[in-house]
Structure formats: structure tokens, C-alpha cells
Symmetry: C2
């Protein structure tokens, strides 16, 4: 695969596309060809959209969200309950929570999870800024909406310990059967959690 057969412009495009998550060398080649073929309908608008994103998109220094303003729209929104901070691993999780529209709070994006094996320590995540936000006051509750993975739970425990003396209530998302989920397809851990956390009907 290392032999270069296309011109340098398209090879460079392929190399860069291959750095996107979900695209390997082969699919990056397909994507580059697709772009060349759909020049007017895709390559031009995508180049323009990326140029505009480059110009306008910033990362919010308060919460780590991706937006066109810093502080971001969510941090600036007076209708949001500033007393509740939802801690998420990634901006995509923030988007998922916003799509659900279940709560009208503010967010804090950690930017990943603690992962000693991958060399990710507390200093690599936005944990210190979370503690600062909480210490500045006005926060009643921190909801840990990290993923239910080992690394996610490790991070949740670490953050809980750090916030132990701040007086805020630290909560986590409920474990249970997904809505519309079938028991037969669920793992034992989830079923056990759903049994333990059962509610009156």
C-alpha cells in the first residue's frame, strides 16, 4: 500500500482523510475519489464548510464545549440552571444529552477518561477546571454522565473524591434496562443493576 500511484495532491488528501476516525487507508482512498467525482456537490461545499469551521469554531474555556463563541451558548444561556453541572467525557455525549432534552443544565466536558494504561492522567483532562467551577460557588449538584465503562467509572470515582469536601451533591446516571430493550439481549450486569434499582409500578 505504500507505493504512490496517484499525484501528490491526491496522495496528500488521502493521507489526511485517513487520519479521520473511522477511515483507514483504503476507505480514505475511496473517500478522496468520491470527493473528486462529486466536485461541485461535495468537495466544494465541504471545503467551504471546513474553512468556515476553522474560522469560527472555538472550544469553550469554561466547559470544553465546541461552539462559535467562548463562553459557549450553553454557558451563556440565562435560562439554563447554573446550579447543575453535567460532567461528560466528550462533546458527543453533550450532544446526546441535548438531543434527549431531559435536563436544562450546564455541562463540563472532561475530554476523555482517566486511563493509566494509555498514559492518560488527571492533568490530561479538564478536571481541575471542574473543581474550580464548583469551588466558585453556585453549584448544587454535579451529575456524572460518564460512560458505564471501567475507565469511565474510574474517572467518576476520582472526580467524586475531588469534590468530596465542596458540599455539592454528586450523582450519577441510573443503570437499568434501556427503553425498548429486550431482557434476552442484555448482559447480566445490566439486569442485576435493573433489579437492584427497581421502582414501584
Amino acid at each position: 500500500m505504500s507505493k504512490r500511484v496517484a499525484g501528490p495532491e491526491i496522495e496528500r488528501l488521502i493521507q489526511l482523510l485517513a487520519k479521520l476516525p473511522g477511515l483507514g487507508p483504503r476507505s480514505a482512498r475511496r473517500a478522496a475519489l468520491h470527493l473528486v467525482k462529486k466536485r461541485e456537490s461535495l468537495m466544494q461545499p465541504l471545503t467551504a464548510a471546513m474553512g468556515e469551521a476553522l474560522e469560527k469554531i472555538v472550544i469553550c474555556r469554561t466547559c470544553g464545549n465546541v461552539d462559535t463563541s467562548d463562553p459557549c451558548t450553553i454557558c451563556c444561556d440565562p435560562r439554563r440552571d447554573g446550579g447543575v453541572i453535567i460532567v461528560v467525557e466528550d462533546v458527543s455525549d453533550l450532544w446526546a444529552l441535548e438531543r434527549a432534552g431531559a435536563i436544562n443544565a450546564r455541562y463540563h466536558v472532561l475530554g476523555g477518561t482517566l486511563s493509566p494504561l494509555d498514559g492518560v492522567g488527571p492533568q490530561d483532562l479538564n478536571i481541575e477546571s471542574l473543581v474550580t467551577r464548583v469551588r466558585e460557588g453556585g453549584v448544587r449538584e454535579v451529575i456524572l454522565a460518564v460512560n458505564a465503562t471501567v475507565d469511565g467509572q474510574t474517572t467518576a470515582h476520582y472526580v467524586t473524591d475531588l469534590l468530596a469536601n465542596t458540599g455539592v451533591s454528586v450523582t450519577r446516571l441510573a443503570h437499568g434496562v434501556p427503553v425498548g430493550g429486550e431482557l434476552d439481549y442484555l448482559d447480566e450486569g445490566t439486569i442485576s443493576a435493573a433489579i437492584r434499582s427497581r421502582t414501584t409500578f
Copy 2:
């Protein structure tokens, strides 16, 4: 998934990225976030590379190859044997053959295969230009290097019929066991073909 939670700039970027082959709505979101995070190291160079590709890359009107000049480098190369034209479905197949470096001929990119079910007829492919190239003379052999799929073989038969009275020799790639392949993992069709086309050892 239809609810828009990010700003319009990033939503537009996600929508366009989702049109790339291999990326769905979810992976397009991941890719867009990755781009925003790797602003300097990926989004800037990728935008520049796409801008350069937009400016420079054209499709060769002779063979359908993708290059920075029309006619393309391969069509212009005097060291290539112009007497042999390798017919491929797509530019990616041309690249695969060039990587193998097995033959120093010219190419003709059909741009797909005949597929009546998908409404792809001969007028949608670069078949007429192939016949024109062959009729213009100087061509001894047309190698049909289309994929060994039903649509590919249908296309091969169609092209062969069209070239029947031109006097050029029409050949196709050999079927057989892939080099390094294990018999146990091969389908019966390939094994039968390899038996039929056996050679002296």
C-alpha cells in the same frame, strides 16, 4: 438523530462529512469533533489539501483517470505501451494495478459497471469513448480488468461484443488462487476456476 444540538457551522460540516463513503451520521459527528479538536494538525491541512485538489485535480477526458493534467500523466507517458488498454471499473482499480506494477500499458476507466437493477446503462459509463479509442487505431489488445462480480462480468461481455469487429484482441484477468491464499478459505467457484486453468509446474 434529527434534533440539531450543535451550531449551524458544525452541523453543516457533519452533514457533508456524512456524504463520504464509509461515514454514517454517527461517524461523521465523530469525524467533525476530531477535526475541531485537531484544528492545527488536521483541519487546517485537510482544508488546504482539499482546496488544492479542487483547484488542480481534473478527470482525464481520454481515459477517465484522476490527475492534475488532462490528458493525464499515464495517457501522455511515451514509455507506456499505447497498444494495450486495460479497462477498469474505477480509478481505485487503476491505482491497484499501478501499485502491482505488473504492466506498463494505458488505462480506460469505465466509471462503474452495467447494472440494470440500479438503472445504470451503457450511456452512464465511459464505454463509447473506449470504442472510439480502439477505432482510432494503434490498439492491439484490450484487457478487461473488471471485478469478478456478476455486474462486472456482464459489463465485460457487453464491452467484448462492442469490440468484436474492431480486430483487437480482448482478454481478461486470470481466475485462480490468490497468491498466499489458503484453499480452505476459498469459495468453490475460485477453486474450480483454478483447477480448470491449471498450468504445468
